[in-house]
Symmetry: C2
Subunit: 639 residues, 2 copies
C-alpha cells in the first residue's frame, strides 16, 4: 500500500484557543467524496450522506483482503477526574500528527456519541481545541442514523415481547397455534424458516405442514411462556428522560390489565449497540441478534430474539449500520465514527468493522488509532479481552493519556467536581501531590498495560496551567514505572504539530514485534474470570459475590454461557469499586452486586455497584442556550 | 420553464402482475443524482443519501422565485372499504402517465409512511403494481431519517416537561431561580434569549441582570406551574407498541414518588410531524414549534414549548427535515416523499414545502400531483381548508378515486373486511348495487369537491374482476353527478400507459381558470366552523357537543385559539361518524366527544369517537416472514 496523496487542511491557529465550535466552524471540511478518493475508497464503495459524511461499504475488506494490516493502536487513560482527561482529543491530535505532519497513512476510529446527553450538558464528543472531528454538528447530531436504527430495532423486539405475552395470556392453545401457523391458500400450515428454527431448538423434527404436530408439540411451539420477572430486554430512547427509568406499562384499557413494571435505557445502552460494535459482517450481525437472550421461560430456559421471531426484522432495520461512517479531522485526515456502546454496562469501544476496514485502507506502513472508553482499567482491559478477542486483531501499542491534574488528585489532592472551580493545588505547581499520583495510579495503569505484552507510551496531555517541572516529572516517572516512552503533548492548542513527538515515539514503539496475550482464558469459570480481572487489574484481594450474583452465575453457566468473556460494570473514577478511593487502592474485596448477560453481544457483565442506564436533565439544561439561525443554519450554544 | 430532458425507465410488464416487491426489484432506479439534474436541481441544492434518495435544498424556492407555479392537483378518494381503493397507486400511475407518456414536467408529492406498522402487517405504502415509488425498501425504511428526527425532538420536549415539573416540585423558589439564571464569571445573572422571551410573555420588562427582578417576578419566571392533568404532549416511538398506550412514569427511586399517568403515540402522530407538513421555511418551523401548547398552568394559561425552553433545540434536531426527499417512480419520473402526519388526529397530507419546490421545478406548463389521506370528506376537505390556506397555493383540479368494489358497498353490498374473502357481490357483475353507490357516496363526494370551486375528475381504478358494463356505469354516473370528467384507469397493471386517458382529461380540466374558495372563514366561532363541515361535507343535520367539548372550546377560545382552522378527527369509513353507515347518510347529528388543539401546527381537532394513536402487533406480525440475505442484502417478506 503506497502513501496516500492527501490534501491536509491548515486551520488558522489562534491564541487564546477559541471555543470548540468556533474552531470547527472556521475550518471548512473537504468534500467527503474527495477524502474518500484520497484514502483509496472506490466510488462504488461510498454512500454519501450529504457532503460531509459517508458510509463505506464492507466490500473494502474483500477487495483489500491481501493487503497487510496497518499498526493498531489503542488510546486509553489513567483513572480520570470527573472532568475527563482528553482521550478523544489525544486520539484526534495523534492522527493529525501522524498524518498531516509525519505523512503516514492513518485513520482514527472513534465512537458515535449519544445524542441524548448533548441536549443536557453542553459539550460535544468530537475531541476539542485544535484536535477535533469536523463538522462537529454533524458528528453530534443524527450522523447517518445508526443510533436511530438501533432504537427502532431494540424497540421492535421489546414491543414483540409484550405483545406475545399478551396474546399467549389471552388465547387458548388452539387459537394461538392456528394464528401463529395459519393455513395458506392450499390449506397447509407452512411454517416460516424462523419458526422452523424454533422447532429445531425444541428438538421437534421439522414438518412441511404444521398440522402434523401433535397437541403437545403445538403447545410447546406456540407458548414461549416467558417469565415476566426475568425479562432483561428494556426499551430505549436517545433522550435523557429520567421519568422513564421506572415505568409501568399496559395500563391502556385494551391491554386488559396485563400490566408490568418496565424501564427505558438510553439508546446506546442497547445490547444491539454492543453487537454492532463487536460484529464482523452482516451475517454475523444476524447471528448475534438471533442469540440475544431476553429472559427465561417459566422452566428457566433462555428465551431468544429468534424465539420471539424478530431476528431478520431487526437485521433489516440495522442493515445499513454495519458500514462505518467516514468523517475527517480538523487537518483533513480520515476518521471512522462507528458504534458507541455504553462504557458502564457494555464494553465502550468503537466498532471492530471500522478498525478492520481502516487497517486495510492504511496498509502495512499505516496506523489505525482507536479509543477505549473510561479509564484503562476498564476501557483498555475490555479492548484487549473482549474486542481484540472477537476481532482477532493484534494490537501494536497502547497510548496512555495522563494529566497533571488527575495525577495530583491521585496523589491526595482535594476532590475535583464538575461545575466547581478547581482548588489551588491544581492551578499552581505542586510536585509532591503529582509524584504521589505518578507512583500510584500511573504506575498501576502502566503495569496493567504491560501485563498484555504490548508497549505503552504515556502521553502527558498538557494544560495551560501545567509547569515545565510538573510535565517533566510525569515523563520521568512514567519511564521509571515501565512505560516504553513518555511524551508531552499539546495538540489541544497546536493540533497535530503539538503531538508530533508523541507520534514519533509511537512509530518507534510499533516497529518491533510484541507479545500480546489475553489476561484470562475463556475456559475458566465465570467467577475465576471476574476474580482474575479484580486481582490483576484493579489490585483487589479478591471478590465477594452477593447471593443474587451467585445465583445468576449458576443460571448463566447452566444455560451454557459460562465460556463468555467478562465485561465489568464498574465506576471509572477509581481502580476500586469506591469512586472516592484514588491512587492505586489495595487491601479491598470487590463486591459483585449482580451479574447480567449480553449473550448476543457475547459477554457477561458483573455489576459492581449501581450503574445508571438513563441520564436525566438538570434544572437548566443547555437547551436554554441553543440558537439556530434559520437562514445560515448556524447553531450556537449546543457545544 | 422548458420541458425536461428526462430518461424514462421502461419496466418489463408481466401478466399476471407480480408482487409489488418483485416489480420494484426488477427495475433498477436511475442514480438519483442524474434524476436531480434532469429536473433542474443544481448540484449545490442536492444532498445525497446513498444513490437512490436525496434531500433537496429550499434554495430552489429562491432561485426559481420568478418562475410561475405549475398546475396543482390533489388526489382524493370516495369513502373507502377497509382495503383501500388505490389513491397512492393512482397518484403514482397518473404522474407516470403525465411524465413518461405525455412528456409533461411532473412531480408526485407523497407522504413518508410510518415504519412501525411496516413490521406489523405486510405491505408498503409506495403505490402498487406498475405504479410505484422505487426502491420500495428505501421508501419504507428510515428514508433520510426525518421521522427519527421528529421522534428525537418530540421526546426531548416530553422529557423536559417532566424534568421541569420535578425540579419545580423539589426546589424552593430561590434555588430554582438561581439554577435557571446562574451567575456568570462577571457575577451577573444574564438570561438567554429564550428566557427573555418568557419575560416578554409575562409582561415583565427585560433586564440585563436577572438579579434586578423582584421575588414575585422571579417566582413567576421560574415556575411554569404546569397542571399535570392538562398535559397533552405525549412521548412518541415509531414502533407498534400497544403496551405503551397507557403507562405510569416516574417510578424510579430517584424520582421520589413524582409519578404520573402518560402515554406514547406512534411517531407520525406527533404534532411536530403536522408542523413539518405545514411549515413554509426553517424560520416558520421554529416559529410554529415555539407556539406548541403542551398543556395549561394551574391558572389556566397555556404553557408553550418556548416556556419550557426547547424551541431552538427542537429546531436544531429537525433542521434537515425541512428539505424534501427526492425519489423516483417505476418509470423514472421524480417524486418527493416528505412528511406523513396521521390522517386521524392530524391533517394527513404531504408537505407544503415539497409541493412548493415541485411547483417551481415543473414550471407553469408542468404538474404537481399530491395525495390527500383518507376519504375526500376528510382528506380533500383538510387539503383545501388547512393545507391550501397555510400555503396560499391555488389548486387546479381534484382527482377522485373510485372503485366498483367500494361503490357496491355504498349501494348496500355486504360488509368488506380485511383478511376475509370478498363476497360474490364484489366478484361478479352487480349493476344495481353499483348504481346505488354512484347515486349516494360518489354523488356526495363529487358535490363536496364542487363546493370548493375546483373541477373534479373521477378516476375509476380498474380491478381485474370489474366488468365493462360496471366500469362504464361509473363513468356515466360520475358525469351526471357533476364531475368535469370520469375516466377508467388501469395503471396498476399497465403503469403510466394505463393512466394516459386520465392524464389527458386532467390536462384539459386544468386548462381553464377555476373559482377555488374555502368552505369557511376563520373568523367564525369554533363551533360554527365545526358545524359547517358537518353539514356541508358530511351531510349532518347539525352537531352535538359533549360537555367536555364545550368546555374545551371555551378554553381554547379564551386562550386565543378560536381563529384556527378545524381538523376533524373522524372515521374515514363513513361520511358520518358511524363506520357502518355507508352511502351518503342523512338525518344524523354529529357527536363531538372532545376537542384538542395543535396550536403549533395551527389547527383545532374535534374528536368524533375514539381515535387510536398507537397501533399494536397482532399474534403473528409479518416479521415472522421477513428474511434478509446477508450478502446481497435482498429483503423478502416485508412488503
Amino acid at each position: 500500500m503506497s502513501t496516500w496523496n492527501i490534501e491536509y487542511l491548515k486551520p488558522e491557529f489562534l491564541t487564546p484557543v477559541p471555543s470548540d465550535i468556533a474552531i470547527s466552524r472556521n475550518q471548512p471540511p473537504k468534500n467527503i467524496e474527495k477524502l474518500a478518493e484520497e484514502v483509496g475508497i472506490l466510488p462504488d464503495e461510498l454512500d454519501l450522506y450529504g457532503r460531509k459524511k459517508a458510509k463505506v461499504s464492507l466490500d473494502v475488506l474483500k477487495r483489500l483482503g491481501d493487503v497487510k494490516n496497518g499498526k493498531y493502536v489503542v488510546v486509553a487513560g489513567i483513572t480520570p477526574t470527573p472532568l475527563g482527561e482528553g482521550k478523544s482529543t489525544t486520539t484526534i491530535g495523534l492522527v493529525q500528527a501522524l498524518g498531516a505532519h509525519l505523512h503516514k497513512n492513518v485513520f482514527a476510529c472513534v465512537r458515535q456519541p449519544s445524542q441524548g446527553p448533548t441536549f443536557g450538558i453542553k459539550g460535544g464528543a468530537a475531541g476539542g481545541g485544535y484536535a477535533q472531528v469536523i463538522p462537529m454538528e454533524e458528528f453530534n447530531l443524527h450522523l447517518t442514523g445508526d443510533i436511530h436504527a438501533i432504537t427502532a430495532a431494540n424497540n421492535l423486539l421489546a414491543a414483540a415481547i409484550d405483545a406475545r405475552m399478551f396474546h399467549e395470556a389471552t388465547q387458548a392453545d388452539d387459537a394461538l397455534f392456528n394464528r401463529l401457523c395459519p393455513k395458506n391458500k392450499q390449506g397447509m400450515r407452512v411454517m416460516s424458516e424462523i419458526q422452523l428454527r424454533r422447532l429445531d431448538r425444541l428438538g421437534i423434527k421439522r414438518v412441511e405442514d404444521a398440522e402434523a404436530l401433535d397437541p403437545e408439540q403445538r403447545r410447546r411451539f406456540s407458548r414461549l411462556d416467558i417469565d415476566a420477572d426475568t425479562i432483561t430486554w428494556n426499551r430505549v430512547i436517545d433522550t435523557n428522560d429520567r421519568f422513564l427509568r421506572g415505568i409501568e406499562i399496559g395500563l391502556g384499557p385494551n391491554e386488559k390489565g396485563h400490566t408490568r413494571k418496565a424501564k427505558f435505557d438510553i439508546a446506546v445502552g442497547s445490547e444491539l449497540m454492543a453487537i454492532l460494535a463487536l460484529t464482523t459482517s452482516l451475517a454475523d450481525l444476524r447471528e448475534r441478534i438471533s442469540k440475544i437472550v431476553i429472559g427465561s421461560d417459566k422452566s428457566g430456559q433462555p428465551v431468544t430474539a429468534d424465539d420471539v421471531g424478530v431476528t431478520e426484522a431487526l437485521t433489516v432495520l440495522m442493515k445499513d449500520t454495519v458500514r462505518p461512517n467516514l468523517m475527517q479531522t480538523l487537518e483533513g485526515t480520515p476518521v471512522f465514527v462507528h458504534a458507541g456502546p455504553f462504557a458502564n454496562i457494555a464494553h465502550g469501544q468503537s466498532s471492530i468493522l471500522a478498525d478492520k476496514v481502516a487497517l486495510k485502507l492504511v496498509g502495512d506502513d499505516g496506523f489505525v488509532v482507536t479509543e477505549a472508553g473510561f479509564g484503562a482499567d476498564i476501557g483498555m482491559e475490555k479492548f484487549f479481552n473482549i474486542k481484540c478477542r472477537y476481532s482477532g486483531l493484534h494490537p501494536s501499542a497502547v497510548v496512555l493519556v495522563a494529566t497533571v491534574r488527575a495525577l495530583k488528585m491521585h496523589g491526595g489532592g482535594p476532590a475535583v467536581t464538575a461545575g466547581t472551580p478547581l482548588k489551588p493545588e491544581y492551578t499552581q505547581e505542586n510536585l509532591p501531590l503529582l509524584e504521589g499520583g505518578c507512583d500510584s495510579n500511573l504506575r498501576k495503569q502502566i503495569e496493567n498495560a504491560n501485563k498484555f505484552g504490548v508497549p505503552v507510551i504515556v502521553s502527558v496531555n498538557q494544560f495551560a496551567s501545567d509547569t515545565e517541572a510538573e510535565l517533566n516529572l510525569v515523563v520521568k516517572k512514567a519511564r521509571e514505572h515501565g512505560a516504553f516512552d513518555a511524551v508531552i503533548s499539546n495538540h489541544w492548542a497546536q493540533g497535530g504539530a503539538g503531538a508530533t513527538d508523541l507520534a514519533k515515539s509511537l512509530v518507534k514503539a510499533t516497529e518491533k514485534p510484541n507479545n500480546f496475550k489475553f489476561l484470562y482464558k475463556l475456559d475458566l469459570s465465570l467467577e475465576e474470570k471476574i476474580a482474575t480481572i479484580a486481582r490483576e487489574i484493579y489490585g483487589a484481594d479478591g471478590i465477594e459475590l452477593s447471593d443474587l450474583a451467585k445465583q445468576k452465575i449458576e443460571t448463566y453457566t447452566k444455560q451454557g454461557f459460562g465460556q463468555l468473556p467478562i465485561c465489568m460494570a464498574k465506576t471509572q473514577l477509581s481502580l476500586s469499586h469506591d469512586p472516592s478511593k484514588k491512587g492505586a487502592p489495595t487491601g479491598f474485596i470487590l463486591p459483585i452486586r449482580d451479574v447480567s448477560a449480553s449473550v448476543g453481544a457475547g459477554f457477561i457483565f458483573p455489576l459492581v455497584g449501581d450503574m445508571t442506564t438513563m441520564p436525566g436533565l438538570n434544572t437548566r439544561p443547555c437547551f436554554f442556550d441553543i440558537t439556530i439561525d434559520p437562514v445560515t443554519e448556524v447553531i450556537d450554544g449546543l457545544f
